[in-house]
Symmetry: C2
Subunit: 648 residues, 2 copies
């Protein structure tokens, strides 16, 4: 059925109350996008993930038959939003499980935790505080008949007396307004200077001393979550942080799906608008909360995977998912932020950290910068687990990297009750009595789901408790604790209470999580083997990514996410993408280091690597097919089994 | 009387037939400007130059009494256009003496003459052919899975293999379109590269090989005349030249008056639009005549006095005429030509040669470049006589300069029958029988007036013939050849014929010309004295400016325009402003030399100089008060007087 242009239908979504109007024949998912209602849709609307279930309360839709819905669900009015076509005015309820449905912005709590990190690395012992965009106050000598130097050269002369700036440029509009500003201000002005490649641009000239009004927004443009920090560029202090979901999630959970969607629907502009809108929302929130005018924000510095930075700048992203897998630009030059649609100071700049290639983005370069991996005397490993799992191995002499398309399981996506690190997310688990578990939630709020660290703990705890075996399957012993869910057997982590459904983990969830950790581990294996490095040679292992506030290193080892090395060498470093971006925003030397990193890093293409698939299959066990690699874990597993046997 | 907004009057101008409508109370001059009819107005509409005489044929005007009109003129309906206010619909005739009245573009013939000059200086023995804007054709290796370098870096890599370009920049729009262009063209593309300060900008990327389509327009933005050359940037050949009057002349003959007019009438934007319109007309004419698309013109390179370049770029020019006499920028950075309103390739650039200050513009820097004065081993002097008279003295070790506000007499302005070097202009004069003169016109056309070289010859010939004395006054001997004109006694150079009026020279004309030459000579004197240089030390003396095709050096010496040095050291070099601008457009090294010149040149402010006024007054004789400075001239004058005495 095609849409019928002449018959319009009104759709109301509950519980948000958001409304829209569409042509008869449009899908409910299209209507939801129009209305701004988030409906989970991992497959991007292709009708095979079954995630976009909604309830039609009133009105009529046309749906093709599907095995993704049980007869009971069909009776209850449940449809797949991407398949159900609007036939009349509708009222549709979007279940709570679509976590974004309220449009509420959830602050990523690790954003707060790491807000101070770059400041520690700026100044004494770290990079010098020398921001990409600086404001300098000058009291120029006014011209006289004895000193007839032109306004423009007068300004340049003053700048060069203070800064090493052999190459400078000035935009036409600034040149035109310069004499007026200088005379109005009695030649006492604040000049905004920005690094642009090898030159310094005179971005703005303002009357008087406005040097205190110079803020930068730093953004980690994640596939799932977008995190923004507000930094005072004059003092290097991080003032505030905020995060939101990437609203491109409407079009697919991972960037490959989003590129496919954009190609099929001519929606690259839409992708661009979405992410720009999300970042503008974050900027607005930060600015309002801190009482800062947008005009005082002179730069946005961002990092992200290459697809995200291409979407943000509306650069052609097609060949990121298609042979020969090349981006438009790995090193995106700074542009006027307004040109990309970002609302900060009219002439403020958008900096994008350099990337390595299509599958190793500037977020990873930022990670190598933030962890100082590129200048480490001993070998170090960085693992960044987000929607993909990227791995960097190296030291001051060399850097190699790989990307496993691990899938966003540890970000809570593709897992029934997975969620981002946000209040109410279960972040720690331990065994309880009678094959139950105990848990802690972020903010001690009533449990709503599991964030990355909670999911990792779940795998480790269920394995230790013998509820799952090393292949991830529910054991016979667990049978009494399982219940039948719509997707098969599921283990109840949190029983239902207060009208809240149970929080469960399904067999499919566990398989997804194991695949994700196996992808990461296999990537590590390939890099170690390719460089003839033994795990024990690693002097440091940094784990970055969206696990929340916390990562239980013992449990990460127990499930075989990380190679077994002494735990004191393993450090959870949180969001290194934003940390590296912030270091760059605050120090030109840091950006130069990021460029060195991007130029030096060698990319290993795992998809075409002869041993990757073997490594991946071997890693599809807990902790691994080859237990000899995890002697410590093996010992503990044996101990736990003995304890169970003795207790039984 | 103020204008009355509600009563509109229609004005028709003859002989052009151009019409307009104005509010009752507007001046006839305002109406003429609106209609696009040129009316000479040296004072810019202040009512004291008396140049804007027009005839009211029909209708009614209101005019204040003035001594600038004879009773006879008033009876004939002649009014001052700037004073007469429209009271009803009018028909106004603009006399032929307003030479621009037809709106016809007169090609400056010296534009053709010097079209080849820079080419001689480019290539072997001169500056290398290395244009500011270059097109390079690249056959890039297309990316493969084994070579995943991003499009942007791929391009940079190829460029850097061919050129020394450590610093490059690419505009956002080019970056966005890059993958599409590369793929469409099978990675065979032509890249337009432009020098921007110390960086190279990727201005454009086009499919295929378009290297042959790369043209530059070079413009001498004169106060009176605007000259444009069309150069093939690939071969350094000058293809064509064209010139027009600067249509800002509506608002005053010199730039000081124009700045005053613009201040009083808020007309800086109008000044900008006028000159941009003039240059666009020239570009259009050249492009159409040579069958070249505007899109193939990748740059405009201009030189001019500082006021003109400020008008062109719409930069604040107010303090050029007002203490402390500083420009907005002496070194104007390249901008996108479209930003200034110039119609060439959409992303083409506008280069402005560097200036020294408010009164020594980039035209003079271009002159020092074109004559190679800045690298001369011996002392050399450059005199550029245009609307002002600028003088540069120096050698490879130092350069000094001064500007005399000589007035545009040698450009034909302020002289009753003065005109620009154009067909019909008298360019040579010599004594004829019975106190008459013989003459030659440009193009051998019927005489229409006198261009610069004709005016200089007139002074010299009338002096030699004893028609004027050394103070410039008509002698008793001349009385028989004089007639009474509206401005007093005038000498008839060409009797009336074929319905054409006589061509005459008036006492006021001669005074104007002597003042102009005295200003130039005094400027030279000050520079020579200030640097303890004797005239005989000069190894070369270059005379540039709007004299036409020709300058009779003997006569220039005879009237005392130039210091007396051996004639073989004196060279007439034509329009060095455009020659230097063209050298810069064709060679980055030449532009760098221009920057060195501008930085090295020391400006002498004549208005505040202790001896300038004395020098000027002494030079207000033919050739000079102090005949000892001109021993050769003195000898010839004595000979001529003896010949006259013997002949009488």
């Amino acid at each position: 059925m095609k849409t019928e242009k002449n018959i319009r239908c009104k759709i109301r979504f509950e519980p948000s109350g958001l409304k829209t109007e569409v042509d008869r024949g449009a899908t409910v998912l299209e209507a939801a996008r129009l209305a701004g209602v988030y409906v989970t849709s991992i497959c991007g609307g292709d009708g095979y993930c079954g995630k976009c279930k909604v309830v039609v309360d009133e009105g009529q839709v046309e749906s093709p038959p599907t095995t993704l819905l049980t007869p009971q669900e069909t009776r209850e009015g449940i449809v797949l939003a991407c398949q159900a076509r609007v036939f009349s005015d509708l009222t549709v309820t979007v279940p709570k499980s679509h976590l974004l449905d309220t449009g509420q912005i959830l602050v990523d709590s690790d954003a707060h935790r790491f807000s101070q990190m770059p400041a520690e690395d700026i100044g004494e012992g770290g990079f010098p505080l020398d921001p990409l965009v600086q404001k300098h106050y000058f009291e120029l000598t006014a011209p006289t008949e004895a000193d007839q130097v032109a306004d423009h050269e007068r300004l340049y002369h003053a700048i060069r007396q203070r800064l090493d700036a052999p190459l400078m440029q000035t935009g036409y509009r600034i040149l035109q307004s310069l004499p007026g500003v200088l005379q109005q201000a009695g030649y006492r002005v604040t000049v905004t200077l920005a690094q642009r490649g090898g030159t310094i641009e005179v971005v703005d000239v303002e009357p008087g001393d406005t040097t205190r009004c110079n803020y930068g927004v730093v953004v980690d443009v994640g596939t799932t979550t977008v995190v923004a920090h507000l930094a005072d560029l004059a003092s290097a202090a991080t003032l505030d942080a905020e995060a939101t979901y990437n609203s491109q999630m409407h079009f697919g959970d991972d960037y490959i799906r989003r590129i496919i969607y954009a190609e099929q629907h001519g929606a690259f502009d839409e992708m661009h608008r979405r992410i720009v809108h999300d970042i503008n929302d974050l900027i607005q929130t930060l600015a309002v909360r801190q009482g800062i005018e947008l005009g005082c924000i002179t730069s946005v510095t961002c990092s992200g995977n290459t697809a995200m930075t291409h979407f943000l700048l509306n650069l052609d992203a097609r060949r990121i998912r298609r042979s020969p897998y090349v981006p438009t630009a790995a090193w995106i030059p700074p542009i006027r932020a307004a040109e990309a649609g970002l609302r900060i100071s009219k002439r403020g700049l958008l900096y994008t950290l350099p990337a390595v290639g299509a599958y190793v983005g500037s977020d990873i370069v930022a990670g190598a910068l933030a962890t100082r991996l590129y200048e480490s005397p001993g070998l170090a490993l960085l693992i960044d687990i987000g929607t993909n799992g990227e791995v960097v191995l190296g030291c001051k002499d060399w850097l190699v990297c790989a990307s496993s398309s691990a899938g966003p399981a540890f970000e809570g996506s593709g897992v029934k009750h997975g969620m981002r690190a946000a209040p109410g997310a279960i972040e720690r688990l331990r065994p309880g009595p009678n094959l139950t578990v105990r848990y802690e939630t972020i903010g001690d709020e009533p449990p709503r789901g599991l964030c990355g660290s909670g999911l990792l703990d779940t795998l480790a705890v269920l394995l230790a408790m013998g509820i799952i075996d090393r292949s991830g399957r529910f054991t016979e012993q667990a049978a009494g604790r399982l219940r039948d869910g719509p997707d098969g057997p599921e283990y109840v982590l949190v029983p239902p209470a207060d009208g809240r459904d149970a929080i469960v983990i399904t067999q499919a969830d566990i398989a997804n999580l194991i695949r994700s950790k196996a992808g990461v581990y296999a990537a590590i294996s390939v890099l170690l083997e390719s460089t003839a490095t033994r795990a024990e040679d690693l002097q440091a292992l940094y784990v970055a990514g969206g696990f929340g506030n916390y990562l239980d290193v013992e449990k990460a080892l127990a499930v075989g996410l990380l190679p077994e090395i002494p735990v004191e060498r393993i450090r959870f470093v949180g969001n290194t993408s934003i940390a590296g971006a912030k270091m760059s925003a605050l120090s030109r030397e840091a950006l130069a280091a990021a460029e060195t990193i991007a130029a030096r890093m060698t990319y290993f293409d795992l998809m075409n690597h002869p041993t990757y698939m073997d490594s991946f299959i071997q890693a599809n066990f807990l902790p691994h097919t080859d237990l000899a690699r995890f002697p410590g874990v093996e010992a503990r597993l044996a101990k736990a089994a003995a304890w169970r046997d003795s207790g039984a």
